[in-house]
């Protein structure tokens, strides 16, 4: 099959240090990061008013990047924080889109990888038919997902 050109997917050598000290902690680097902290209270009064505050005790900050610092980084693409953050936060949706062969998360992923506009359909189809090679197991982490997807697309 024809290679899908990825604008950003330049092979980059990553030193061993990038992998150090991560084996023990994959929380938040794999599937299932979508779990939402339960709302503090289910009382009616709370619910009525919560809706108007959108109240959470989450960090009130200007978060341009999310916490991927404890995750292994992909080795087959140039370091791109925005892409890594996106895949980490959307891995479940991305998995679903790849399995379904289309979707907004997959379109975003393709755009960030620099897939040429005319090649989107080929990229989607290729990823869909190689789903098992991208999401190899339930313990797959984001670095592997990105690297595997790049490998599949370039094959």
């Amino acid at each position: 099959m024809k290679k899908v050109l990825l604008g950003l997917a330049l092979s980059v050598v990553v030193t061993g240090s990038a992998f150090a000290g991560q084996a023990q902690n994959n929380v938040g680097c794999g599937l299932g990061t979508m779990l939402w902290e339960g709302k503090a209270d289910n009382s009616i009064v709370f619910q009525v008013l919560q809706a108007t505050t959108n109240g959470t005790s989450a960090n009130q900050t200007f978060g341009i990047t999310s916490g991927t610092s404890n995750c292994q980084k992909p080795s087959r693409i140039a370091q791109n924080e925005k892409l890594i953050n996106f895949v980490q936060a959307n891995m479940d949706n991305l998995a679903q889109d790849i399995a379904m062969g289309k979707g907004e998360s997959l379109d975003t992923f393709a755009e960030m990888l620099g897939v040429a506009p005319g090649q989107n359909a080929a990229f989607n189809a290729k990823l869909q038919s190689n789903f098992g090679k991208i999401f190899t197991s339930e313990n797959v982490v984001l670095a592997e997902v990105i690297d595997n997807a790049v490998t599949v697309a370039n094959n």
């Binding site: 938040g28 794999g30 599937l31 299932g32 979508m34 779990l35 939402w36 339960g38 503090a40 209270d41 009382s43 009616i44 709370f46 619910q47 009525v48 008013l49 919560q50 809706a51 108007t52 505050t53 959108n54 109240g55 959470t56 005790s57 960090n59 009130q60 900050t61 200007f62 978060g63 341009i64 990047t65 999310s66 916490g67 610092s69 925005k82 953050n85 996106f86 936060a89 959307n90 479940d92 949706n93 998995a95 679903q96 790849i98 399995a99 379904m100 062969g101 907004e104 998360s105 975003t108 755009e111 960030m112 869909q128 038919s129 789903f131 098992g132 999401f135 197991s137 339930e138 313990n139």
Partner: protein, 641 residues
């Protein structure tokens, strides 16, 4: 998800002071070719032109007149001002801001120009300041954020209420700033929210109503917000693209930057998430007046209508929630298919068997896609552990990936009525009717929000929230005006159950009602009524429900001042045509203690929508209390605004 703050206060370490001291002694002041008296000249001109009275300045500092008519900023955080009395003195604030831009601050991120980019840009433009005479600010953090956001345009986003939580029916608003990317998921969203750590409903309510919580603006990737509302809370989202130019979007971001870490008191009812976003739109285009056009209560839907009315919306996009999408697929499958999807999500059916089913590929796709949605939903509700979820999720998706893409239009969800097309949230109604053979007139005022009988267009069907719903009557056998009912709060959530979603329907209502008691006469009593039960989608497309209830009444007429009894209600809500709605309810209550009586009530209501903000309703009821029979019929004109 953990968001790492990219801005950190500079630690006041000894090292820092050392560097500062060194700088003061050895580094000469930046060699600026500043013309002597330039600052004074600008200050003089600003005063002469009364720049502080300009709309642009007022919008950036959130100045507005308070009840007593004095000009004051809505923000009480001193960090927002450069002058000690900046909050109440726009002129002093302008002068000190202007001067602050000339102060030699060489440290990264700390100069006034870095902190207040919108004010900087505005003053430079208004006074034609020769920027070569200003110190060049070094703002590495801001540059990084701006590079990531790349402001080009802005979108007002409205997540609607949750289907089973009328509490969230008000919705919420946030603003998305789009850059050059085609995908909006990687844009950034600005959110204004209260920081609260209370988990107690009463404390939460009290603090929220009295402004004891602090509100903050925050910025995060839009995909986090989509995940929160669309995926986890199953709330549909509406995106209203604003007609703002790239320079205006940039001004908005400048102002957002100025509001970073600035706190202001959060009031649930008016100075809330939606109200505070209006400041951002005003900063982008100061000619717009939005924050001074809101009323006593500010609801997200009101602000959406306000923005629409100002003609600054160019395109509206609907983003159905995951729940909506699941329901869509559910509706496309027969019961057998639904059951298989259900069983897959409960691990009692192997997804690998789906491809052997005697069904078309499209049917198999639907079953697996539905099962995927169910599994995510179960995980969101913590019915599945992370490992079990991930394993099952991938197992289903692996099967799904062998079936190819679904036909283009298969899952297209029909767009419901836009929230801005709904009726205004305040209602005033006049009615005339006959009760027990006597003519009466009624005036009804409901400050907020939506009742079951009101037209559903733009609202969630089956959900009701009424605040301070008050009905005054004249006549009906007396020659005076009296309170017929005053419901402090009245919430109903009728949410249909299906193969997968099993929500409870519930209601709670408290307030005053005129009620026929065992002495066969009417008395004004205080009531607390609550109930819970089930609802199903009817064969006619509406909702049928049954609730078990508890009704507690208090008043001097009762022995010991109080009575209580269990009750049941059954009812139906049907849309007879696009603009005609019908409600039917039959209830029975058996009061034992305090006032021995049985009350059976039947009610039929019809509502005909005349225009967006007007409707007519016809309501008929009959009640049998102990041995007394009372009928009532009334015609009502409802006006919403």
């Amino acid at each position: 998800m953990r968001l790492l703050p990219i801005t950190k206060a500079v630690p006041p370490s000894a090292l820092w002071y050392g560097v500062l001291l060194f700088a003061l002694i050895f580094i000469p002041a930046p060699a600026l070719s500043q013309e002597p008296g330039y600052v004074e000249k600008l200050v003089h001109e600003a005063k002469k032109r009364k720049l502080h009275e300009e709309r642009g300045w007022k919008a950036l500092l959130h100045y507005g007149k308070n009840f007593s008519g004095t000009e004051k900023s809505k923000i009480d955080d001193v960090k927002f001002f450069t002058s000690p009395d900046g909050r109440i003195n726009p002129e002093a604030e302008l002068e000190s801001t202007l001067k602050s831009f000339f102060a030699a601050e060489t440290r990264d991120n700390l100069s006034s120009a870095c902190r207040f980019p919108a004010r900087y840009a505005w003053l430079v433009e208004q006074l034609q300041i020769d920027v070569s005479q200003l110190p060049t600010p070094v703002c590495s953090e801001r540059d990084r954020v701006y590079e990531a956001i790349d402001p080009k345009s802005a979108v007002l986003v409205f997540p609607v209420g949750h289907i089973n939580s009328p509490a969230s029916m008000f919705g919420h608003t946030l603003i998305r700033i789009d850059g050059s990317s085609k995908s909006s998921l990687i844009s950034y969203a600005v959110n204004y929210s209260a920081e609260n750590t209370d988990s107690n409903g009463i404390a939460y309510a009290w603090k929220g109503l009295t402004g004891m919580y602090k509100g903050f603006y925050s910025l995060m990737p839009y995909y986090d917000k989509v995940r929160e509302y669309n995926n986890l809370e199953h709330r549909d989202m509406w995106e209203y693209r604003l007609k703002l130019t790239a320079p205006e979007a940039r001004r908005m971001l400048d102002h957002i930057w100025e509001l970073q870490h600035i706190e202001s008191s959060y009031y649930f009812l008016d100075e809330n998430c939606s109200y505070n976003l209006m400041f951002l739109i005003e900063a982008a285009r100061p000619e717009l007046h939005l924050t001074d056009k809101t009323g006593m209560f500010v609801l997200p839907s009101d602000t959406v209508r306000l923005v629409m009315d100002n003609g600054i919306v160019e395109e509206v996009t609907y983003r159905p929630s995951q729940g909506t999408k699941i329901r869509k697929i559910l509706g496309l499958l027969d019961q057998n298919g639904q059951n298989i999807a259900h069983d897959i999500s409960f691990e009692t059916y192997d997804p690998a068997l789906v491809k052997q089913l005697p069904a078309t590929t499209v049917e198999k796709i639907k079953i697996l896609d539905l099962a995927t949605g169910f599994v995510q939903f179960r995980y969101g509700r913590k019915e599945l552990e992370k490992d079990a979820y991930s394993r099952l999720y991938l197992k289903i998706l692996r099967e799904r990936s062998t079936l190819g893409a679904a036909p283009e239009e298969l899952y297209r969800v029909a767009e419901p009525a836009r929230p801005d097309t709904g009726h205004g949230s305040t209602k005033i109604a006049v009615a005339s009717g006959v009760r027990h053979g006597e003519l009466f007139g009624e005036l009804n005022i409901r400050p907020e929000f939506h009742a079951l009988l009101d037209p559903d267009q733009g609202y969630l069907p089956g959900a009701q929230i009424k605040f301070l719903d008050t009905a005054l009557r004249y006549g009906g056998g007396t020659e005076s005006v009296y309170i017929n009912s005053l419901h402090v709060i009245n919430i109903v959530s009728i949410s249909p159950r299906d193969t997968f979603f099993k929500p409870l329907s519930w209601k709670v209502n408290t307030g005053f009602d005129r009620e026929t008691l065992s002495d066969a006469r009417e008395h004004l009593i205080y009531r607390l009524n609550t109930g819970g039960g089930f609802a199903y989608t009817s064969p006619l497309g509406g909702i049928w429900y049954a609730l078990g209830e508890l009704d507690i009444n208090a008043g001097p007429e009762f022995r010991a001042g109080i009575t209580a009894g269990p009750g049941i209600s059954i009812g139906a809500a049907e849309q007879l045509s696009k603009h005609t709605k019908c409600l039917l309810n039959i209830s029975g209550y058996w009061y034992g203690l305090g006032d021995d009586r049985t009350a059976i009530k039947a009610y039929l209501g019809l509502n005909r929508q005349i225009s967006q903000h007007n409707s007519l309703s016809l309501e008929a009821s009959h009640e049998a209390v102990s041995s007394r029979q009372i009928s009532e019929i009334a015609l009502r004109w409802n006006h919403y605004y």
